[in-house]
């Protein structure tokens, strides 16, 4: 399949500020032309009228669980889920077993992803050895092996001195630090947002202040060191505000949120629903609205899934002991499109949040349909409605609070380097 012509779609590409009906031509794995009335003899022509044609989605925050917890997810199953969700690139967090704190594991992940071939995988390596929060990993060696950023995601770096050192070292290598901002002295023992619902359910809460304080600390250290900092999964109004003020001061900080933080609130925990347990926890309606505001005004740069597959072993148990996290790769797109339907954001902004911005922040290819780019493309049917069911998920993890929920908007074709990575309708089948 050398040439593919996608005809008559709504082309949405924030990198070219393009939102127009047109055609897209793919040749030899690259995008060769975008515009109106493109002719290409011998190309596989696909009529995509009524559909959106966007740069393949980029997820800055996933957990693929391999090596070590293959019963929850493998690189193969996780990247297959990514392709089904419209993603052509994902950055995977290092809290595997063992953690990705050395070049050997980074290379293993890159190699496994290449074998699977569903989606590009960019490893994020540990900031500290074994995520222990003490000794820095070999950043330069890890970068050479294919790491694109550093994070101890899942565990905050407790010691501000260690975090400062990591930022100084990262700044010297001009690489990105991703912070899971949480003050453990305030969050430890907590299993949901501290507020109305935690009191009603008799569960120990995690106050919003645990996130706000930690983001403030990390932003202050970024300001001190000049390190590029990316704040993972912002969930609170206070956290959004800290990032907003930092950006106003010109600090090199970017931020992400996850679809559940703008789609759900702590109310979802009712009935001790472990599929609504994650860290940071679901917050209040006020926080949810502040997150949406952050997406609108540019304070939050990225929507990332924090895809965190778990098996029933970790989830079919008492809420307090259940594992944190939900799967997200196959629901991020419809949940983000819900923001468009509610007129909270424009479609072009949605594509920026899900593709162009994360690619730019990670410094990887992707996020653009400009001619010459790799042909990582997603065709979206924004109107398709479906009910999420666990047997339809490609991810091994079925831990989603959206199971049984009617969702709208889906990737109907995901193209990776000019080849179909997800083509449920057989749009690219020859003949």
């Amino acid at each position: 399949m050398e040439r593919i012509l996608l005809k008559g779609g709504r082309i949405l590409d924030p990198s070219m500020e393009m939102d127009a009906t047109g055609d897209l031509l793919i040749e030899d794995g690259l995008i060769s032309a975008v515009g109106q009335g493109i002719k290409a003899d011998g190309a596989v022509e696909v009529d995509v009228s009524g559909l959106w044609v966007c740069p393949g989605l980029v997820d800055l925050h996933v957990h693929l669980r391999e090596p070590g917890e293959e019963y929850k997810e493998t690189i193969e199953s996780g990247t297959r889920a990514a392709a089904a969700g419209g993603f052509t690139s994902v950055a995977c967090m290092p809290n595997t077993r063992p953690p990705n704190d050395n070049a050997g594991i980074t290379r293993f992940i890159v190699e496994r992803a290449r074998e699977a071939g569903h989606c590009r995988v960019f490893p994020v390596a540990c900031i500290t050895k074994g995520q222990g929060g003490e000794e820095l990993t070999e950043f330069a060696d890890l970068l050479n092996a294919g790491a694109v950023a550093f994070s101890d995601d899942g565990l905050p770096v407790r010691d501000a001195g260690v975090m400062r050192m990591a930022m100084e070292y990262a700044a010297g290598l001009n690489t990105l630090l991703i912070t899971h901002s949480e003050e453990p002295a305030l969050s430890s023992g907590g299993c949901m947002n501290e507020g109305r619902m935690s009191t009603l359910l008799g569960l120990k809460g995690i106050p919003a202040a645990a996130e706000v304080i930690a983001i403030y600390r990390d932003v202050a250290l970024a300001e001190l060191t000049g390190c590029r900092l990316h704040v993972a999964h912002v969930s609170t109004a206070g956290g959004v505000e800290v990032v907003r003020r930092a950006k106003e001061r010109g600090v090199a900080v970017t931020a992400e949120t996850a679809p559940h933080y703008f789609s759900l609130t702590e109310e979802a925990v009712a009935g001790y629903n472990t599929s609504a347990k994650m860290n940071p926890p679901l917050r209040t309606e006020e926080d949810r609205l502040a997150v949406i505001q952050g997406l609108q005004d540019g304070t939050i740069d990225v929507i990332a899934t924090d895809h965190a597959p778990h098996s029933v072993l970790e989830k079919d148990c008492a809420f307090e002991v259940a594992a944190n996290g939900i799967v997200g790769l196959e629901t991020a797109l419809p949940l983000t499109l819900e923001l468009c339907r509610n007129r909270d954001i424009e479609p072009l902004r949605a594509v920026e949040l899900l593709s162009t911005a994360p690619a730019r922040i990670l410094g990887i290819q992707g996020g653009s349909l400009s001619p010459g780019s790799a042909a990582d493309v997603v065709v979206i049917d924004p109107g398709e409605e479906f009910t999420l069911s666990s047997d339809k998920l490609f991810s091994k993890g079925k831990n989603s609070p959206f199971l049984g929920v009617r969702l709208q908007g889906r990737a109907v074709l995901t193209i990776l380097s000019g080849r179909p990575a997800h083509d449920p309708l057989g749009m690219l089948d020859k003949d």
Partner: protein
Amino acid sequence: MEGAEEMKHILGMTHLAKEEIESLLDSASSFKEILLRPIKKVPTLRGRTVVHLFFEPSTRTKLSFELAAKRLSADTVSISSSMSSLVKGETLVDTARNVEAMKPDVVVMRHGHSGACHLLARHIGCSVINAGDGINEHPSQALLDMFTVLEHKGRIEGLKIAIVGDIAHSRVAHSDIIGFTRLGATVTVAGPGTFFPCCIEELGALRATSVEEALEGADVVMALRIQRERQGRALVPSFREYAAAYGINMERLRLAKPDAIVMHPGPINRGVEMSPDVADCGRSVILDQVTNGVAVRMALLAHVLAGADKE
């Protein structure tokens, strides 16, 4: 496990409507009459099996439930945490399946995790009664507290109930607040700032700024057992300070109505949350609470099995 949806459970006061609470209190009073007879046994639950599954140490609640089941002629099995394999890594869901194999009609469970009874109820094909889950609820204790108040005051509606102590970590307080307010009482809570959960008003309680304010004009004064440490952290500087600043003593008790009754879910730290003279005074109904526990638990067991036909 068909029909599990219609299975009657008692998971918490929060799930009980006003009418349901009233009918439980009514039937507890009939059962109390039985307990005062020379032959204290009725055949209500003959042929039924009640499993007591206790993952946390408990003497009074467990004994009270066991006695209640025996008075109703049920067969009983008790599994306590030392015997249970949960500690050895068996999950609660596995335990539920194993217990289910005993074909029980009711499982009475105490567990250290909030919501554990909800989980059990989802996985087992019989009724579940919560005998205390984490810091969430302890409905049978709340019902016996309400029953005791009703016996002494003749009503609950319109009463002023003062609860002093660690509200945040007390499942008894949690259930009491919900139950008493649902029946129309006003519940005022007091204690040090570290003893309050966020948004206490969501439960329906008023928060007083001092013990004195809470006790002023109260019909019922309840002190909770205080534990100085929670998760390794001292929530109060010392018992000495607590007793002086928040303990219920005779002087403070004088602020309540002259006929106010004094309650405590036990066991008491004498001289800390309650001075010995208050605990032993004529207005203390603490021992009535223990007796009434059996009657209330008989009512609960009979309630969850009422109408449930054995297949």
